[in-house]
């Protein structure tokens, strides 16, 4: 069993944290995980992505060469994954932030207003948590209990409950995406 995931966006959207939490939840589920990151020289703005590889065996190359799931939160990130090779890959993009009408996207691409939904649920900074939920439910390898525990440990009590709800929303969205395939 081996899964490759990419979270991509621009600096400040929390995509690297999403990858870290996914990896932590995978390790807490008894699996092996690796996470790499690519970002610009400054803390805000610029293309940012994180690759997460999850496996039940040793992970050699820690970059996602043939991702199973990609979540993109910015157009700058989407354009890099238009030519993705893997025929079974799911690319979930933030349809609230990205106008995808100018691209010819096949059925592997699914839009969902990720950031907008997170804001409506009470957190302007939790698009990454919703993304995490989508990916986790697409993979089916991560223990839901470990996922929620990892999330609870990562955030302050103030935001913990809202984020738990947003994570659940992400899981539901992920399940819908899978069932519609």
């Amino acid at each position: 069993m081996k899964y490759e995931v990419i979270f991509a966006g621009i600096g400040g959207q929390g995509v690297i944290l999403a990858g870290t939490l996914l990896g932590e939840a995978a390790v807490a589920s008894g699996l092996k995980a690796s996470q790499t990151q690519a970002y610009g020289v400054s803390a805000r703005g610029g293309f940012t992505k994180t690759d997460v590889v999850i496996s039940d065996g040793e992970i050699l190359f820690p970059y996602a060469l043939s991702p199973d799931v990609v979540v993109v939160l910015a157009e700058e990130a989407l354009v890099r994954y238009l030519d993705i090779e893997n025929k079974n890959c799911k690319v979930v993009y933030d349809s609230g932030l990205i106008d995808a009408s100018k691209y010819e996207l096949d059925s592997r691409f699914v839009g969902f207003p990720i950031t907008k939904t997170a804001i409506e649920m009470g957190s302007s900074r939790s698009a990454n948590v919703l993304s995490l939920g989508i990916v986790a439910s697409c993979l089916k390898a991560i223990s839901t209990e470990a996922l929620f525990r990892t999330l609870a440990e990562a955030f302050s009590p103030k935001i913990r409950d809202i984020n738990a709800k947003i994570l659940q929303k992400g899981i539901d969205v992920g399940n819908e995406i899978i069932s519609s395939c």
């Binding site: 990896g23 995978a26 092996k32 995980a33 690796s34 790499t36 690519a38 190359f61 820690p62 970059y63």
Partner: protein
Amino acid sequence: MKKKVRFMLGNEAIVEGALLAGATFFAGYPITPSSEVAERASRKLPQIGGCYLQMEDEIASIAAIIGASIGGAKAFTATSGPGFSLMQENIGLAIMAEVPCVIVNVQRSGPSTGLATRPAQADIMQARWGRHGDHSVIALSPATVQECFDLMVQAFNMAEKYRCPVLFMADETVGHLRENCVLRSRDEVEIVNRKRPPEGLEEYFPYKADDDLVPPMVTPGSDYLTRFHSSTHNEKGLPTSSPQEARKLIKRLYDKIEKNKDDIIMYREFDVTKCEYLVICFGGAVRAARQAAIEAREEGLSVGVLQLQTVWPFPAEYISEVSKGKRGIIVPEMNMGQIIGEVRKAVPDKIPVLGANRYDGEPLTPKEIIQVLGEVVSL
């Protein structure tokens, strides 16, 4: 007790390894992509009564860890290319004055400020030859987060054992990699501490070596007066211009590492002896190489991987031996080809040695190594 398997960043594991080895002092100047080492050290060291010092530059940082080690602490610093360049003169001081310490270089793409957040392995010859003057040096290179932890313990052990700086040549792909890491406990690993002189000596000679070529070391405030010197010195630590004394010192400093190669050199073998094609690499490139070897085997090629955990001193004799009878050698590096020169010197002339190189700030991929493998096969 927190769970022992962590999903940990390479740079953080470096600090955890240092702490297990007994480090109590860090001095540094933050620089991408090594800053997480400084950040974690600044959080952890004060908790155990140790010290984190943020110095005015990298020159001061290496100077301060040399001072702290002389003062009796196990000390380390962390930097990347630009800072590593600034540290060179005082790495020479640590070599000459025989001060144990560990210098972490999380390599990034250069030269100069280069691509600050992107990986490279292009400082590996600088690690060997960055200082002026004749000397040998120890450099280790981790390929996994677990090795960031485990090899840091070894780095400190070697620094203490041989009274010398040890260069820890990580790179961005490993420093910024998160993966499973087991934090070992004190009783699981051997911790080496610097050798002390026997009590009751009539006179202590600060640079008089034992048979192992390493002089015992004294902490200020103990029974003997310490003496450390950056200039060519005699056994008393007094400067000398005598050619005999100079030769004796330079030879001993060189030999204490080169004659202990068997102890210092560490490597990992993946199908090395039975393979037809051998990939020799270190650090971040190892991951791509091992993946490439698996994929090539699926295509019916017999490929092994030799991972150099110790890059300096270079295991030339071993490589010379193990490469006999191979049909080709591939040396993948995230640089224009540095270690390949050492491999070529070691490998018998008739065996082709090809590099797989990347120097655009992107990590090497298995595909690129397989491509070069194809070239070697078709030779």
